[in-house]
Amino acid sequence: MIALDLRYACANFQLSAKFASDARIIGLVGPSGAGKTTLALLIAGLLRPNAGRLAANGVTLVDTDKGIFLPPEKRRIGFVFQDAMLFPHLSARQNILFGRWFTPKPERRVPFEQVVETVGVGHLLQRRPSTLSGGEKQRVGLARALLSSPRLLLMDEPMASLDFSRRQEIMDLIERLRDAFAIPMLIISHAADEVVRLADEAIVLDHGRVVARGAPLETIPSASRVLEGGRFMVANALKASVASYDARYGLTRLAHPAGEIVLVAQIEPDARPIRVQVKATDVAIGKSYPVDTSVRTILRGMIVNIDANDSPLAFVALELVGGDRLTAAITRLALDELKLHKGDDVFALVKSVALDERGQ
């Protein structure tokens, strides 16, 4: 869907990025100053590269050798900004319809009603941006970008200024949009849980270069040495089914092939599987089945990868019984003292589990 090889230099920064990807959602991650936003601006045409090529959905947007540089208005690349960047003098409806007005009729693939309904902004259409909350603004911004029928949707930290539950809503929404409109997306994020949950492929940028890429769960831990001092914490997604609700303790028991998962929440039993999220720092590892511990969620698995370097923390990737991946962040000291190796059968002690509210 996107193929690029771009070089850009300004006074104190150089970017030289090259990748091609067919992923439906690409997660672009990296420490601040890595060039993530610069790359997004180059893709959108809001910055001019010194040299290189860029194609989206097979259409060449930039080719400096051939002297091709499409201006942003001809690229049809939707851009969702961190703080929405709604036009303050226009109503939500006028904002949403702005791009459509400039889209040639045959290329208007995205119907207004469907976007408004999917994004859930029908009740906001008459409002001014200044009267909208952060989450509402972001929804209107998404609807606006979609209505221009883009070839590619760029999102620059779309959830960075939202609180936890608004973030969950927007993540749900991004997944619904991916399924409903089949528009490839590139999401810039500094939050591992967003990338792990949404992206099919993670691309890690550092000092203006691609330093790692691949499936988010494997790529992000192994790239963690370039990611800001552990702030970039790995989250795991597990699929389980609701076994029962324990009213006495207020807990829901989930059945997972690797063991029982105890969740502090009330969920009614349902045939459909649900997803839960586990932070890598909430996972401990035991070599034998632990008997005297307060941890109630104990899952069986095998070590498939160990990522350790000079930093105090090491990332141990497990393949759980049933196939789910789970990454644990443990100290390098524990790694050495327990003598953990690839291929060992171990138990993952999960201290805390959060419901991943993406429904099915």
Partner: protein, 228 residues
């Protein structure tokens, strides 16, 4: 007191006409120059900035003299315009309007430029990514958002044009019915024995016009601001 003589009525009408034409003529280039100064970095940025503000710091009589040399009957620009467009500035009300345009231009630039600088550039980026070219992005986003500054600039320019004296009298003299605006008429009355009451009346009237213009600008600005 407000028993106006024909000479005074003519001067008032002429002043309003000259100031209105000057404001309308100066506003579009002022918007463009202010936008260029606010948004673009180009060779000659500082030189353009200085040139635009020159009439503000030069003695008005020097500006008027420069206009006379350039746009007078035998000046290069004046001769060209007279020959090709039949546009004559020397000793005509059009010359008074030109002098007022030049003098009010720098006063319009500053508020308009400031309001463009306060419009987030990324709003323009958003418009471009949605398919608007530079011109549409300017017309639909930057210009409406800078409207309060444009209104302030227009009113300041109008008030300056209404009061312009030095450059006007140097360039087109003080001809009743042709180039005698309110300030020039006040000056003439003061020079005339027993002309003080007329001068005072015109002084009050010019103050009243300026105050009404200010009130209109306040109201327009409040309306423009309320939309944001």
């Amino acid at each position: 007191m407000f028993d106006l003589s024909p000479q005074e009525i003519t001067a008032i009408g002429l002043s309003v006409k000259v100031a209105s034409v000057a404001t309308l003529a100066a506003l579009p280039p002022a918007i463009i120059v202010a936008y260029a100064l606010a948004r673009w970095r180009f060779p000659g940025h500082a030189a353009l900035n200085a040139a635009v503000h020159l009439p503000l710091v030069l003695p008005p009589v020097v500006t008027g003299f420069a206009l006379l040399l350039l746009f007078g009957r035998h000046g290069p620009a004046g001769a060209f315009l007279a020959e090709h467009f039949g546009l004559i500035f020397a000793f005509r009300w059009t010359g008074a309007a030109l002098a007022a345009t030049v003098m009010s231009f720098p006063l319009m630039i500053r508020p308009i430029r400031l309001s463009f600088e306060n419009v987030d550039r990324r709003l323009g980026d958003a418009a471009r990514s949605l398919g608007a070219n530079r011109l549409w992005s300017f017309l639909l986003i930057a210009l409406p958002l800078a409207a309060p500054g444009v209104i302030v600039g227009a009113i300041l320019g109008f008030a300056k044009a209404l009061g312009e004296f030095g450059a006007t009298i140097t360039f087109v003299s003080n001809i009743p019915g042709e180039t005698q605006t309110i300030p020039a008429a006040i000056y003439s009355f003061i020079q005339t024995p027993n002309g003080d009451p007329e001068a005072l009346r015109l002084a009050f009237i010019s103050a009243a016009i300026a105050i009404v213009a200010l009130l209109i600008s306040e109201a327009l600005q409040r309306r423009a601001g309320a939309r944001l």
